[in-house]
């Protein structure tokens, strides 16, 4: 087991390989470096410009090398003029980490031993059975028994080493919802949200005109701000308006009862009562005047040729 200490700001790095001893009392987050036991590596020369393009074709590159029944995750970066592809199974790594006492939430980033290819030009002893060494620019696990028994292994000091890229543990795990679905649904929700906001604004602005008119009226007449004051003024003027209109209407109706054959003798208005006496020339006219007066909702009385009409306003 090799623990690499980097700068104080970086997490401790742990080289992960089979047969390593369990870890105890791990309190801080760590980065892990996977040995080839946990990933499959391919290096290709491709006419691609961006890593997302490379990642899109990663699955097909590994078709002949990986078990189709297992779900793999892919990591790609550009190494010199080539593209370096990694396929790994995050569940397998997760299970292994748990078996050696590393909780998955402690793992910050995952790196690949391939990223140490220049450093591993010299063999690194992993355990009594295996060593790790770069062979033809590929970091490889080699059985120790194949090595020269007198070979001295150097310890790996990566205190000055900084690894770039890497994969976060969380992003390697699959979400319940795919990225495509997320984009479609999020766009839909945002569009709907936008529509609701626009609609809400439109609804609110629908009373802006009335609001502005009211503000203007209240600015011109501040004493009308109080509803009590308004009611008080209305209570004063409404009866006046009603009664004065009724008086004028009644007088006009009485005037329509007058003619050459029916003349006004008396008209009296007092408070809310109007009374008129109309003299008629004969009984026929008298009858007609009375009928007209009744049709105009007047109370009709009178004897001989005089017709008395009255109405309470």
């Amino acid at each position: 087991m090799v623990i690499l200490n980097l700068t104080a700001k970086s997490n401790n790095k742990l080289l992960i390989h089979r047969d390593m001893k369990p870890i105890t009392l791990l309190e801080n987050s760590i980065d892990i470096i996977l040995t080839p036991q946990f990933y499959t590596f391919i290096r290709e020369e491709l006419e691609l410009n961006f890593s997302y393009q490379a990642k899109q074709i990663a699955g097909s590159l590994f078709d002949d090398y990986l078990d189709p029944n297992i779900e793999y995750q892919y990591h790609v970066y550009k190494c010199n003029n080539l593209w370096c592809f990694f396929a790994y199974n995050i569940d397998e790594i997760d299970t292994f980490l748990e078996s050696i006492g590393i909780e998955k939430h402690r793992v910050s980033k995952i790196y690949f031993a391939q990223q140490l290819d220049t450093i591993l030009e010299e063999p690194l002893l992993l355990n009594e059975k295996n060593i790790l060494q770069t062979v033809d620019d590929v970091v490889t696990i080699i059985p120790k028994q194949l090595m020269d028994p007198n070979l001295e292994y150097k310890s790996l000091d990566t205190s000055m080493l900084s690894l770039k890229g890497g994969v976060t543990m969380g992003s390697s795990l699959n979400s319940f919802i795919s990225l495509k679905e997320t984009i479609i649904l999020s766009t839909l929700f945002c569009l709907l949200g936008g529509v609701f906001i626009v609609e809400g604004g439109r609804i609110k602005s629908s009373i802006a005109k009335e609001d502005a008119q009211l503000s203007q009226l209240l600015d011109e007449n501040p004493r009308y701000t109080s509803s009590i004051s308004r009611q008080s003024i209305l209570e004063k003027y409404e009866p006046i308006n009603k009664h004065e209109r009724a008086k004028r209407d009644a007088i006009k109706k009485i005037s329509k009862l007058l003619s050459n054959q029916s003349q006004l003798k008396l008209l009296h208005i007092e408070k809310n009562k109007i009374t008129a006496t109309i003299s008629t020339k004969n009984q026929n006219i008298n009858k007609q005047v009375k009928e007209h007066a009744r049709s105009k909702k007047f109370k009709v009385s009178g004897s001989s040729l005089d017709v008395k009409v009255e109405k309470t306003l």
């Binding site: 910050s108 976060t168 979400s175 919802i177 766009t187 709907l192 809400g200 009373i207 209305l234 005037s255």
Partner: protein
């Protein structure tokens, strides 16, 4: 919740945020709807009341009425004006010996002038001759 868990569920988080945004916008629209339905009729009622007050005041409490009523003094020959008494915002009128035409003229003027008729008495004093007494205010 650590960074890894956030990464793990980032799609769900993005979706949740978008959903919350949509729900927030929906509730904003609902509140706008409620605000408008609660306030529109209230605002319109206030406007209607103020405009009615303005109309009534202009009609029944016109400031230039003191001048307008002067016409009742000269509407018929002065000999027929028995009383023309204007005090503050009240006026008392009395006419005698009015012909039917003169009575109509005064009556029409009175009816078309926005003043409150407190009392009105028209009597036929002789054949086709009338007396008229009127008390008004504004």
């Amino acid at each position: 919740m650590n960074l890894m868990t956030l990464q793990r569920y980032k799609n769900e988080l993005i979706l949740l945020l978008a959903l919350l945004f949509m729900l927030g916008a929906f509730f904003y629209k609902l509140s706008a709807n409620t605000y408008v339905s609660e306030n529109k009729s209230f605002i319109q009622k206030q406007i209607f009341e103020i405009m009615r007050i303005e109309k009534y005041k202009k009609q029944w409490a016109s400031k230039g009425m003191a001048n307008k009523v002067k016409v009742f003094k000269s509407i018929v020959p002065a000999s027929k004006v028995k009383l023309y008494k204007k005090k503050s915002s009240k006026i008392k009128l009395a006419y005698v010996d009015l012909s039917a035409n003169e009575l109509n003229k005064i009556s029409n003027k009175l009816l078309n002038t926005p003043i409150q008729i407190v009392s009105l008495n028209i009597k036929e004093s002789a054949n086709n001759k009338f007396t008229m007494e009127c008390s008004c205010k504004w």
